[in-house]
Point group: C2
Chain length 438, copies 2
């Protein structure tokens, strides 16, 4: 059997499998329609994208695959329910065209310097597949490229964590989950794991002291063991490793002290998924559907990839429509309210916005002074912005001062936000600056 | 690598992998909730349902899995679009309760004799997961059991063929597909296959003369080769067989004459899927979405399983909501019209209803005098009934005289309609008889 790489290996790392491909093709050159992936019945042999994920998630194929993960992997529905979607308020087509012209020529200087560029240039430069901007709850900009359109869906990758964290924070505020409790008091199975002695809050904020290496050059790195465990495909004969996300979590070794420092390690998000599943009695998918997706007027069901035991990948498995993540962003901007309904207490958003301790945050040069709270990135900037972030440049960027929600799907060849941020974060700020005066 | 059985092996055969389990557990005893499958976080080890399909699709596990195929397999969306669903007209809750009491005690004598039983008894006896009855376009009966509820979806299995056949008949009536053309004139790749010399119509009506054995006791039977080809999972090292449904179809050998006799062989449906994909320029999923799902007021997106090259399983891969198949049935009953819109010409339904040649039909003792036309089973009975049928007892049963659409999802332990029909077809007739006088 060929070696099966789990998506976890790709989605959770700051290093891309495709890193070597950087710079080879521009967004236009790597456009999946232009490259002809999966067109024709059948497509030409060299245009068919297949397993394993070291193939289908390599650049430039990944520019097609980010919209088609369910065609490669077992998945679980996040139901939108059976009711009518609630359309997002939006400018007229004419006014949208005007705003697009304005926004596309807003200019900014990249982080770390370099020549001034425009938002429109950054759209292409960063392999953007969809960009939705809501101002005061109204769509002022909506643009698709690559594999995406308004009826499609796109891999959210590590933005999944922020959905998981939001659900956890809801349970905390509602009193169903004590964030000061030891994880072992909720999940006794991890009593002998490094997670056992951590608090729920340390898991939520990723300040656990756990060993989890993502060194791809080391064949014994934890990421490979985790990836094998998480693969939903049948295990190779003789496989003796852990089965699924959760069994892996029972075996995690300690490294450093809990609570001392923020360490971005995806296993925390899956630990959190386990915690909120046991506390709520629902898989993360159903919990997300019940609390959010079926109540926010979503246009499309979302979905999550699952492991071989049916556990949704709480750390990176979400795929959703651009507009529906816009609705999620509006829920955050408006303190849990959407379409006149309060879906969760305002305190949930206030807790997240307040952020964690920036003193414990390090290792992300493009996010100076930031923190990570309940699986959201909090900028601690003047505007009070905070964000969900995915490793190929995806974001839900909420800017309260600008009353802006910006959602971006992207398929950058490098799975490395440190490379993408210099030409995207200042673009978001430029847009916020414009909207404040709009 | 363990041997991976494709769903095709299960879904397309008149023999169940689970045949040996017959009679072991009743519907109540095998209820997936009662058996506790996949409950808990994690479920107890003996309650987890996993790959391969020889496990997850064995009885009684299949009673859970029929609602959860996407959690095991790569799939492709059949979009409902982004608009509002159109609710099915329905009786008041009070009147529904009255009708349920009436319909559940309607009685009938099973085909071939035996004691008189009621519709309510047959519901349980046949492992029904959902039963929806529409009379004159209005829901008069709706009941769920097993793994299904109104927000869930269920494997349609061979009812998929009827969706594929409907799409083909639409293309024929609209002039985009010539059903007298040789298949090789549309798909040159099958020129050397037995399909090459068949007409499109012979494929549509399954009167092709092709070799395709489903003898499970023969390790060299075609079904095994087809199953391996169709598996979406990575192929075992050294695999040299065909890749995907379509490559298999290029290698089919002749057996008998085209047009002489009806032979129920699923490969015809996949051949038809290939034909309509090439003619329309769309995969069957997108074609179904564009022509039907996004225009009939569907409540839920449906989906289809795919092979390792991304080709939807046109012969058995559909999973959908019960009510949405009710909408499909209404479209048939009302000659292509639903919610005031004509989705396709009335001639499409008229062609299907007219049926094929019953003289060519044999091998189905429970369907005397029937025929198979454009992948629909035509009863040639007094009421002019016709049906889509799935191998575990699923049906869309359209009775024009009774102005009835009956949709049933089921998970009978035996994948064998010959076993299920004696206590289901006369139940449908008893319901029709009642509705005619209602």
């Amino acid at each position: 059997m060929r070696k099966i790489l789990s998506l976890a290996a790709v989605l959770t790392s700051a290093l891309a499998l495709s890193a070597g491909a950087e710079g080879t093709l521009t967004a236009a050159q790597s456009d999946p329609k232009a490259l002809g992936w999966m067109q024709g019945f059948p497509p030409p042999a060299d245009k068919i994208i297949t397993q394993p994920d070291s193939v289908y998630f390599s650049f430039p194929k990944l520019r097609w695959s980010v919209c088609h993960l369910r065609e490669f992997l077992p998945t679980e529905d996040i139901s939108r329910g059976l009711g009518a979607p609630v359309p997002l308020p939006r400018l007229s087509a004419e006014d949208l065209a005007v705003e697009r012209r304005i926004i596309d020529i807003l200019s900014f200087r990249p982080l770390g310097g370099g020549r001034v560029m425009t938002v429109g240039e950054a759209f292409d430069l960063n392999y953007t597949d969809g960009l939705l901007i809501l101002h005061r709850g109204e769509v002022v900009y909506e643009r698709y490229a690559g594999c995406l359109d308004e009826g499609g869906k796109h891999a959210a990758m590590s933005m999944t964590k922020s959905l998981t964290g939001l659900l956890a924070e809801i349970l905390v505020v509602e009193g169903a989950l004590d964030d000061r409790a030891l994880v072992s008091s909720i999940i006794p199975e991890v009593a002998d794991s490094a997670f056992g002695s951590a608090t729920v809050r340390e898991v939520m904020d990723m300040t656990t002291g756990i060993q989890y290496s993502e060194d791809y050059s080391d064949p014994n790195a934890d990421i490979w063991i985790y990836s094998q465990a998480a693969s939903p495909l049948p295990k190779p004969a003789g496989y003796v490793g852990p089965e699924g996300y959760w069994e892996y979590l029972t075996q995690v070794q300690p490294e450093g002290d809990h609570g001392a420092q923020f360490h971005y390690k995806t296993v925390n998000s899956d630990m959190l998924g386990w915690i909120i599943s046991r506390v709520s009695g629902q898989p993360v998918t159903d919990l997300a559907a019940d609390r959010i997706w079926s109540k926010m007027g979503a246009e499309q069901a979302a979905y999550m990839t699952v492991d071989g035991t049916g556990v949704p990948f709480a750390g990176g498995g979400l795929t959703a429509g651009l507009r529906d993540l816009g609705r999620l962003g509006l829920l955050m901007l408006n303190n849990g309210e959407i379409n006149g309904a309060q879906l969760f207490p305002a305190e949930v958003v206030q807790n997240i916005r307040a952020g964690g301790d920036p003193e414990k945050f390090a290792g992300f040069p493009t996010l100076p002074g930031a923190s990570y709270k309940s699986q959201w990135w909090v900028m601690h900037n003047e505007n009070g912005a905070y964000a969900a972030r995915g490793v190929h440049g995806q974001t839900i960027y909420v800017d309260p001062a600008a009353e802006m929600v910006l959602v971006r799907f992207a398929s950058h060849p490098q799975a490395k936000n440190g490379v993408i941020d210099p030409t995207s974060l200042p673009a978001y700020q430029a847009i916020a600056d414009y909207l404040i005066d709009r």
